[in-house]
Symmetry: C2
Subunit: 140 residues, 2 copies
DNA sequence: GTCCCTGCAAACGTTTTGCACACAG
DNA sequence: CTGTGTGCAAAACGTTTGCAGGGAC
């Protein structure tokens, strides 16, 4: 998929040094950063990025739709640039690492719908990543 | 299922007036309150319940395991006393109403596991509840 | 030149914590 | 009597907002 930066510019999104850096943080597609992750990474390239600017930019980018997606995980927001294909998430319960996975969407039987109009479904697999499994094996 | 209060007492959990009231808030099983919901409801029966006590009690109750379950929804914690049977959630995107539903757990194909050890899976259906569908029909 | 983005700091809502006191066991 | 739950207030945390100034277009 095209980098987020390119896609933002196509949308006529106004660009500044800070916003460019923030967009570039999402270079890899299978990435799920919290606002603070983004801030830290942005500051490597440009130290005078403020927290508010990161939040503003992330909110603006997501508001454009279909460019950056928000996932609530564990009380924190995570931003995910992989909006091209539907996907679900695999999260490590120990280190919070999050990966995209592709599974068939579960179906909600009509009898269970309680009259609700289903919009979409989010599936999150809670798991332990190989590193944390290894770390646990050592400590025990 | 037995009321939460009974199950807490079986566990030898120390009881006070406040904790009893808090447990009684969860009388119905298919209930998903935020900490603030619990506080408000508890104060109907006993006005001098403090916010901290609600949080303490909720954290203690969940720490006992298998009595009260936490669900992160939209950046807020919700407490769910229905831990006897595995279930998933159906949430109204407009009014936040949350219901339990029972679906088959989706399976994550081995090729998608990335070496993670799966612990469990959470499924959340985002939907519009009948009331909010009706409200939308009126406003348009 | 206009409008919007920026940085700072302060406000916000939710949750946690430190403390002295009171009550359950 | 001892240990733990209580209320209060303050802090912590992630996020948002108000404002004056500056840079994109």
């Amino acid at each position: 998929m095209r980098p987020l930066l390119d896609r933002l510019q196509e949308r006529g999104c106004r660009m500044t040094a800070q916003r460019r850096i923030i967009a570039e943080v999402f270079a890899g597609n299978h990435v799920h950063f919290t606002a603070d992750d983004v801030l830290q990474r942005a500051r490597i390239a440009l130290p005078e990025v403020s927290r508010a600017t990161v939040y503003n930019a992330l909110n603006d980018f997501t508001a454009l739709g279909e460019l950056l997606e928000v996932t609530h995980a564990d009380g924190k927001k995570r931003y995910d640039p992989n909006v091209e294909q539907r996907h679900h998430h695999l999260v490590c319960v120990d280190c919070d690492r999050m990966l995209d996975v592709h599974t068939v969407d579960p179906d909600l039987p009509f009898a269970e719908r309680h009259g609700f109009e289903i919009i979409d479904v989010a599936v999150t697999f809670h798991a332990r990543c190989p590193d944390c499994v290894a770390a646990k094996a050592v400590s025990s």
